[in-house]
Amino acid sequence: MSQSLKQPNRVREGGRIDRAQTLSFTFNGKQYQGHAGDTLASALLANGVNIVNRSFKYSRPRGIVAAGAEEPNALVQLGSTEAAQVPNVRATQQALFDGLVARSTNGWPNVQRDVMSLVGKLGGQFMPPGFYYKTFMAPASMWMTYEKVIRKGAGLGRSPMERDPDHYDHLNQHCDLLVVGAGPAGLSAALTAARSGARVILCDEQEEMGGSLLDSREQLDGQPAHHWVEGVVSELAQMANVTLLPRTTANGYHDHHFVTLHERRTEHLGETAPLTDGQRPSRSRMHRVRAGQVLLATGAHERPLVYGNNDVPGNMTAGAVSTYIRRYGVVPGNKLVLSTTNDYAYRAALDWLDAGREVVAIVDARKAPEGDLVEQARVRGVRIIEGAAVLEAKGSDRVTGARVATIDAETFKVTGSSDTLSCDTIASSGGYSPAIHLASHTGARPTWNDEILGFVPSLVKGVHAAGSVRGFHQLADGLANGCSAAAEALSALGFAATPVELPQVNTYRQGAACALYQVPHEKPTLRGPKQFVDMQNDVTAAAIELATREGFESIEHVKRYTAMGFGTDQGKLGNINGMAIAARCLGKTIPEVGTTVFRPNYTPVTFGAIVGRHCRDLFDPERYTAMHQWHVEQGAEFEDVGQWKRPWYFPRTVNGKTESMHDAVARECLAVRQGVGILDASTLGKIDIQGPDAREFLGRVYTNKWAKLAPGRVRYGLMCKDDGMLMDDGTTSCLGENHFLMTTTTGGAAGVMEWLELWHQTEWPDLQVYFNSVTDHWATITVTGPEARKLLAEITDIDLDRETFKFMDWREGTVADVPARVFRISFTGELSFEINVQANYALHVWKTLFAHGEKYDLTPYGTETMHVLRAEKGLIIAGQETDGSVTPEDLGMQWAVGYDKPFPWIGKRALTRSDTRRVDRKQMVGLMPKDPSVVLEEGAQIVFDPDHAIPMPMVGHVTSSYYSPILESGFALAVIKGGHQRMGEIVYLPMVDGKTHAAEIVSPVFYDPKGERQHV
């Protein structure tokens, strides 16, 4: 009893709410109560809350209009804590939970008394569509200021400013038939398919399944409709081949029947996912469904009529009135006027009467309405005003009356004198627009159907539709249509359909609906009261008329000029009305004006749900080598190289002080040049190549020669694309006459592997060769420096004698008792051994080297030191010295180009194009800054004349630059126009800070130019 006092609009019984469970919630700081089963919207209406928001542009008070996804006004900010904020929640789709906290998204200082509304009232006239295109242009400098003000006033809710405490996930689903919508058609379809043995998914966006049957006046087999729903749902729930997904919106229909279903798993329970059994479930879940066939039973949205001040709180769609009464036990007012163009909307008046409140009148646009529902209203003594419509609502914060007159819809004229009926609620119905959104996502254009006055979906192969979405609004038709559409889908899938016995339902005699969208007014549209078409974006009939006058004739132009349909409801209520108004203004029919296109999402989806678990620590894989733990324990700093985490440098901490990067790198460099260093080189790509034609293949993909490389030998190679530009480089070892091990750059590994397969599979399938990636199988440890041999000798059985194991040889043997291949190749210019061992044993080998290396001060080094050392030797890094526009010749690497190889290898032909033959191409050189303390900036641009005015002709740039501890100077690699012919010249590098550095062009080999140290 006391509940109903607190909730003045709650009826005593009926509906699907649980009156025994009272829930408290807060709206705009005020406490209210509702019941389990309520939406936030139904609870607000139960409590008599009229104004739920302020409008976007004119700041007009707005109330709840609809009961579902089509609601344009009731957008609220949800959340009691910062992290739990959710902007723009549609109150009609938010289940009420205890403790819910919501605010209106607009309105200052509050939604009741809003300052901006004054601006809206006074300034509204100055804000026709596109007004911002016509002003704010002078002075030009002021636009950024104007913009700031405009932005402040715009927007709806606000973003949370803290990290989301919840997580989200994905579930990949596969099924034979996906049924979207669990109303009468969807349920009968799902039942048919399920009983036939198909794998079925049935989803519905509402809190419970049943769709229109949840608020239906009709009886099925002589029982209330929900009995039948419960029977079907419980049967489906028990079938192993059926997945039932309530609270799940099919939000996007992608190619080849891939549909995303967004399941709200906990949003009805709380603002963050509650702990259950110690685990926190995902807040919501995206089902990524690959369906064999899809059946759309998505229903229809009722269109409100467009009349004067149709946005004042208390104006609602007729269907919403019925839904609130019958499903939620809430009558959203006391005195109702219904304005309709069809029979079906009469339900609202009958439901209103059943709830014990007054129906002032039904205003029917048809001259002589007839049909069973009309009769029922007549029998119950309702006044029916024929051939008329509500012209204009009265009231400001709540409807106080409806001005009604007879009209002629055809000529768009008011034909009689008007009469103002006192009421607090105006329900309107202009007909039903099929919810064709998903069908339209597939790219199929919907077609206009004059019979049902709506667009019906065009269906691509494999998509079926049933029920209201096809215009079958009668219950019996919908049920039957569900079965027959399912049978069609089943037959396409190769299943024999098991017939389903449908329940007995009454068939109503229905009178034809009439076409009415905008209600005529005595005044011309531009002068009359505002008639809202798209309430969320404050688009009026006048705005559409004005747009057409200004030459915006395509519906796409009209929409864009007025912003119609660009709201979060995507114009579910307004689009068809808007098209009809544009058509009227242009003297065309609706289909002539254009069609309507919808894009995913059907209703908005949180970013979190789309992202799923692919965030935070799982945003992107991190790849580790076998020695990763050791690196972490040594305090290494890491560099991201592709997905790999590579040690960048190993700062030492002495007496609590950690070395700077500069100091660490200097120490590491000198250790390699003067003692011995060790590098984890496992990330290099490694490809095992076997087959009698392996050698021939190498000759075709590398620029240099491979015909004579003997087993036991290693060679460096360059790989180009067929445009002649360098793509990757690395060494390849001859393991046997027909067996090679190729290495690639770390970042290039996957690409090179695919490249080899591409050429083999598409151009040269006749060559007998196989490629297999062994990147992960082998770990690679580089031991380098003058002491490398001594160290390695201690733990290997390989003869390391310089005469028998030469530079660019490889040998087999054990290292630390582990079988290894050791390669004498050098990326530092020092005596080097690259040790490959099976990765499971690599850490043992690594640690053994350290156990023996202490006396040599074995120093681990990272990628930074590796870069310095190789640059001192003028060795390139593909991707750093090169950028896809550099040929081997530009790099001065003609020695690695086999011009006379018999097969026209990849990249060869391109080297003789006119542009690649230019003498002033950018060529790689070394740069010595005149001031040795200067380390040039990588990426610094090079000019010949530093005094040239801006724009200054640039002749190249620095590709690599470091401080060299061994040279005690900064040094750099660069590409410079015609650089190979400019040795000894001075160039200039003008910097951001205003300084200009001078540097001399030198050979890119800075250290040990004869290459003696690697041969020792």
Binding site: K152, L156, D164, D617, F619, E937
Partner: protein, 416 residues
Amino acid sequence: MQRYSGFGLAKHALSHHENWERQWRNPTPKKQYDVVIVGGGGHGLATAYYLAKEHGITNVAVVEKGWLGGGNTARNTTIVRSNYLWDESAALYEHSMKLWEGLSQDLNYNVMFSQRGVMNLAHTLQDMRDVQRRVNANRLNGIDSEVLTPEQIQAIVPVMDCSKNARYPILGASWQPRAGVARHDAVAWGFARAADALGVDILQNTEVTGFKIRDGRIYGVHTNRGDIEAKTVGCVAAGNSGVLAKMAGFRLPLESHPLQALVSEPLKPVLDTVVMSNHVHGYISQTDKGDLVIGAGIDGYNGYGQRGSYPTVEHTLQAVIEMFPIFSRVRMNRQWGGIVDTCPDACPILSATPVKGLYFNCGWGTGGFKATPGSGHVFAWTLAKNQAHPIAAPFSINRFHTGALVDEHGAAGVAH
């Protein structure tokens, strides 16, 4: 042309806005024009406008198969910047940037060009090298450009995760203060209205079905509304360029791919600049209406369907949440796709063709919107003088034969 101004707006309000004129006419095609522009998007309309305004050539038709500005102009993420790496592209985009800066006044149409700055994030050492290379090049080319530290980035975008514990921590960024966003539709409408006022015929719902070519020379087009004669024809048809080239009997080094974008629901201002990351791959800004506009990647296959693959959207939002974890509860409202014509070197084609008198302006890939005025300006010059504008010269089709590509993929491979 009816002048637009705040005063005019107030005046029209008093007459209930009943006296606004059409923004452009709906003319009947003439038999003959001096120049026919195929494609009524931003670039085509700009070309027509500058032909009339700068070269006095007003007997011009813009032939559009749908509604004007209905292609990529209506579907892009509206970013305008000019901080390109190579001299050739920098010159082109900076030329455009200068035109943007006075465009609203020039057109008497507020295109809402908002110079709120664009930042390109660097997440790896190589990214940083590329950023420095590009910024240095920009400055010497006279383009405003800076390198930002993570601290400076955080100050400009307080809501971004600039911490070291990100999977790919932000190491720095390039920053162009003059860059920003504009209102895409208004650009097309503004050019259309201004061109129309100078006498250009904008022919909507007019589809070119073939070219009239004789002895290797163009002399008109066939359309669904009859033949139109013209000795000079410029095709500015973005994703449809390949189809037009085929009609004219040659191929282009182009592929048309889906490029997707999406928007959130409108939010109160939360992001005051444009943030782009090539490495984690996403870019984002906030419109004046409050929507977060997010650019997704390009799909790898050819597609004219104005839609792409869902995983592309997933990857983009993963990137956005990696950069902006606080947006996890913000909701995606809508997604859509454009058709972008991409060149192998990520640079456009502004060029004569094997057919004399027939010119193509295409291949803008993901970067066309920002070039709109500049592209139209140099293309108009090219059409008017039958000779490549110096800024357009490096972008000839010929470069794919000589090898003189302007490869923006490389160091400055920042798309969009």
